[in-house]
Structure formats: C-alpha cells, structure tokens
Symmetry: C2
Subunit: 256 residues, 2 copies
C-alpha cells in the first residue's frame, strides 16, 4: 500500500528527501491519508475565501497562486511545480487568502490539515523538511518582490525564465536547456506585473537578442550566461531547493 502511494507521491518525496529525512519519517509521510483529484487546465483548486481544511500538494502539472486587487488586475504570486506544497498558509489559517488555479491539467493531492498537524508533532524531522520547504518558498517570494519592485520588463522576464530553468532542473524536468513552459503571455504578465502586450514585445526583444527561442509552449535557452546576465539572476536564493547544508553547483548551463 505504501508502495502504491509512493508512486503518486514520488515528486513530493523527492523534494522532501532533499532535506534528509529518515526512513521512519518517510514511511510516516507515505502513510498519510490523502485524496487525489485530477484537474483540467485553467480549473480552480481553491478560491479566495474558501474554507480550507486540507493542504494541497501538486502531483503532476503546474499550478499558480494569485490574488485580485481592487482595480481588478491579477497578480500571480507563485508558480508551483510537481512536488510543491501549495497552500500551507490557507490550510493553517482555515480560510484561503489566495486563489489556486491549474496552469496545465494535472493531479492534486489533498491532505487533511489535521493529519499534517499530527504527523509533524510526532515526526520532528518531517516537520523540519516541511519548514525548510516553506523557507524556500519564502525565499522565492522575496526574490519576486525584488523582481517586480525594482527591475525593468526585460530583466523581470529574463529572471523569471532563469528561475524556472533552475527549478525545473531540480525537478528533472529540464533537458538540454529547454523546458516546457505552459504560461501564456498574459500569465507571464500577471506574474511579472506587466501587461500581456508589453510581455509580447519584451519576449520579442529577448528572442531578437539571441538569448532564447520559443516553440509552442516550450522555452529553449540559447545563451544561458546571456540570459542570466539580462535577468540579473543569481540562483543563490534557490540553493536549498537542493540540500540544506550542501554547497552545490547550481548553474544550469555554464557558470553564472
């Protein structure tokens, strides 16, 4: 049974194991009750104001978290990949403060908040892993604040593309400096605080500079060093996606 579960939980376990959990922690995690549910691209997993009694984990596909401001504009605050815990704040708060939407079709696991509650008190090592995971999320958040707050459009978008490259590489979803990237230009705009139109023009410029190519929904990084430079990108803030204590080489292509 635990074997069957771990089949779906594989991306999650891969993530947790970066934090060096013990086999006992791992077994306890795998024995956690949860419910799997498939979602179509664009479907909402959680809406602001919903009562949240369980915590969502991405099993496959991409999803985003966003908020709507008074003017009606939307801001994406996070993009979550397989293995990510999506809405710890919502689950622990009891009420969702943001919206969770699928970017692609995919499966979400719902774990009762009470079960998380209980297991983390009995397995401090597991709680540690989840805590570190939250700290990484916070580190990404803070970099996004910098991105939308103080960088121009070209730099913002280049930075976003670099971040995905590194995160997908950690997830084993990057090959030969290209990755599938299921965001429309409007969604890229919502993530970077720009309009879709300006994103369009900026992407053209990035392609024109020979930094990237785009085919359908995939990005090919043609010049990693150039893109990282254009995006003012230093992967240090993503470092412990990989290991708590380790000092790893994190460049995607060559050095940064």
């Amino acid at each position: 049974m635990s074997k069957r579960f771990s089949q779906f939980l594989a991306p999650v376990l891969r993530k947790l194991e970066r934090y060096e959990i013990t086999p006992a922690d791992r077994d306890a995690f795998v024995a956690l009750p949860f419910m799997r549910k498939p979602f179509a691209a664009g479907a909402h997993v959680v809406r602001e104001g919903d009562r949240a009694v369980s915590c969502c984990v991405v099993l496959s596909g991409f999803c985003i978290r966003y908020k709507i401001v008074a003017s009606g504009a939307r801001q994406i605050v996070a993009v979550n990949l397989p293995g990510d815990f999506v809405d710890l704040p919502n689950a622990l708060l009891g009420t969702a403060v943001d919206n969770v939407q699928m970017l692609t079709s995919g499966e979400i696991a719902f774990v009762p908040a009470s079960a998380i509650d209980e297991i983390t008190l009995r397995h401090p090592g597991l709680q540690r892993a989840l805590w570190l995971n939250t700290i990484l999320d916070a580190s990404i958040f803070s970099e996004w604040i910098v991105n939308v707050g103080r960088r121009d459009a070209r730099t913002r978008i280049a930075h976003l593309l670099c971040e995905f490259a590194v995160r997908l590489r950690e997830n084993g979803q990057l090959e030969a400096n290209s990755y599938t990237f299921p965001m429309s230009q409007e969604q890229i705009g919502d993530a970077t605080g720009l309009t879709a139109i300006h994103v369009n023009r900026t992407l053209q410029a990035l392609r024109g500079s020979g930094l990237i190519r785009m085919e359908k929904r995939s990005v090919i990084i043609e010049d990693w060093d150039g893109l990282a430079a254009a995006g003012d990108f230093d992967p240090a803030y993503l470092r412990f996606a990989c290991s708590v204590s380790g000092s790893h080489d994190h460049s995607v292509g060559q050095s940064v």
Copy 2:
C-alpha cells in the same frame, strides 16, 4: 537565569505564545544560548554574502531586509519588528542572500543555528511555532508581491501604512491609531518600488485627502476605513499573527 533572559526575549515570547506553545517548549526556548548586540540606526546586521551561522531575532527597534539589483536600485523585502526572526533563510543556508539593516537603533539577539537545529528536533511544538511564524512571513511576502506588482503608488503606500498599523497593534506598539514610523520617504520608496520623489507627492495626496497626518516620524491615521479602502487592504493575510485557529476581529479602528 531564565528570568533574566526572558526579560529581553519578552517580545519574542509574546510572538511565540500566539502559537500556543507548552510551558516546556517555552522553558527550552528561554534556555537557548544567545548573544545580544546593540546596533545604531542604519547599521548593518548582516550583509549579502556573509557567512551566517546564527539566526537573528529583533529584541528592540526596527530592521529591514533588502537586496540590490543590477542597476544599483534597492528593494526592501521586509520590515521586521521586535520579536521577529529575521533571517531564517540565511541561517539555514549558511550564506546570507540578503542584507539586514537597522532602521532605528535597537538590539539584536544572535542564536546559533545549531541550537535552533537541536531544540526544534527535541521540541516539535516549538518548531511548529517557528514554522507558523515562517508561514506568516511568507504570507506577508506574497501580499507585498501583489502590492508592488499590481497597485498604483497611492494604493501601495496606503497599503503599507495599513499593514504596519495592524502589525504594530499586534505588538502593542499602536495607540489611538497612531504609531511611530521610522522610515524615510526614500525607504518607503525602496519598500514599495517607487522613487522617493514620487513617495513624497503621494504622501502629500494622502494627507490632502484627510486619510493620514504625519508628525516627525509618526503616522496618525485619521480615517481608517478610508485608508484601508485607498490601500485595498484586507488584513486576512496577517490573521495568524494572532492565533492559529482563532477567528479574531482584526480591524484596527472600525471594521474594514
């Protein structure tokens, strides 16, 4: 001895106790080894790239975390009040990825990361409190992304002022809708992604609308409902600054 420590740690304990830790957790926390160090206003506590072997906790005063982008511009990603844990990411990463600077003079406690490491594994309830605290930080981060990403200058600044009002109220540092606010207009700009000049003009407009008054380094909120409306402010994302499970009334003045 634990009594002497708790005198300095009072703001920290007040914060942790919101998460309902046990007396044993509390005692263990108070027994943590730490070093106190006073800093002058403007002094740096940590600089990007520093080796980080301990975790900083604000005992008194305000401090900020910021990063510098390629163009030389600065973005403040967080303002920390007494009781806040400042740089968990840095401590756990081993190397600082952002800068920590005092906004006012104040005292910082340095707790060895190894001690945090050890105590949290032995006291899951305490780890829970720290984890929840990190989740709250992340929640604030994500709201800041929305703020700088999709709101105009007037809304951004009004939102910032509202957030401080609520957070300071939680800390008992707000009286009669006024609080000391030690940020210069340039620093407000660095926190909101604006220039100091534009902050100046926007603050004038806010004052002109009768929403706030400013005296020296303090803010008086003259019309809470108006300011909250102008700032598109909903305190839900700060909710569990107060309690994990509770549903509290969080309005500062009247309802929001």
